[in-house]
Subunit: 194 residues, 2 copies
């Protein structure tokens, strides 16, 4: 049964890889980007250093792989949030709220050096573009139903939303983040004058 | 008359320093951060290399000095805009508009490497704080007069404004920047429900 055996090996490799990513991000969050070594990671995962090097050449590569997993997970989560609820306004509120909370929480982990390192990653720009398109489509849908303002094109409103929501990183509490999302939505909502 | 002589020398030194800053920023905008040398700068300013080194040790230090001059100039400009007009809403619109246009124009100059380099500068954080306080005070004043919403504290609204306005960097035109400022202001304005 060589096929089953291969599948078992594949599943095992995936598990080890996932464990490496998770433990590395925890170590970096605890000790900072510059002080984590491959030996520490191997020990934490419970594998030999030589084995670890079969998976990744260095700490930076592990962190980038972890970050890609995070971004993919967040985008999937946001797409699910978008697809759950009915009205464009409620869906935009849900997506912006979820993204604001992700931004707010991510600021609590990791130091400035880590954020600066990760945000040189091309994946970030790509994910931002996907998120921008997601917001733009919701804003366009809501403009058609009259829920959102139509005097500014959805593309510009999406850019506005994406930038405004980054304020969540600097806000002191989840309540403040909730208020931020309300304020952002008020700006894109259809008003009497609009 | 040694005092007058000293004053003349001081004025001359200031002029040379200003010329160095201006020419360096122009050279970097044209050729990129990494390709500008001290020799090029000296030639452009019309002084010897040895003289240039009496003013600055390297290109990076010149750029940081230029950036500090830019930031100080922008803050002064924004404070003037704030003090010119009467009503809090008009003043906030004027300040946000001026800042949005500064952000929009600054994106046209320089490359990503330059922006990344300059924004490690502590001055940026300090200037952001001053701008934040300027907006917060205007928002507090307008909340008292009923022009702005009072259900969210001015401090949080100022954080919102500062982040939302960074969208100006990605917008394609001055018209789009104008619309952005309108959208941001709609969010902080007093509404029927507010």
């Amino acid at each position: 049964m060589p096929k089953l055996w291969n599948e078992t090996i594949e599943a095992h490799r995936r598990d080890v890889r996932e464990a490496i990513l998770t433990h590395t991000s925890a170590l970096v969050a605890e000790h900072g980007l510059r002080s984590v070594t491959m030996s520490q990671i191997a020990e934490k995962v419970g594998i030999g250093r030589a084995t670890l090097y079969k998976y990744f050449p260095d700490v930076e590569t592990i962190l980038l792989a972890w970050h890609e997993r995070q971004i993919a997970g967040h985008l999937e989560q946001l797409a699910q949030v978008r697809d759950q609820v009915g009205e464009p306004a409620a869906r935009l509120r849900a997506v912006l709220g979820a993204y604001a909370h992700i931004s707010h929480r991510s600021r609590e982990h990791g130091d400035g050096a880590l954020v600066a390192f990760l945000h040189r990653d091309e994946q970030v720009g790509h994910a931002q573009q996907q998120l921008h398109d997601m917001l733009r489509d919701l804003l366009a849908e809501g403009a058609r139903t009259g829920a959102f303002r139509a005097d500014v094109v959805p593309d510009e409103l999406a850019t506005y939303c994406l930038h405004a929501v980054t304020a969540a990183r600097e806000l002191p509490s989840e309540d403040a983040v909730h208020r931020l999302v309300m304020v952002i939505l008020d700006a894109v909502s259809h008003t009497a004058e609009g």
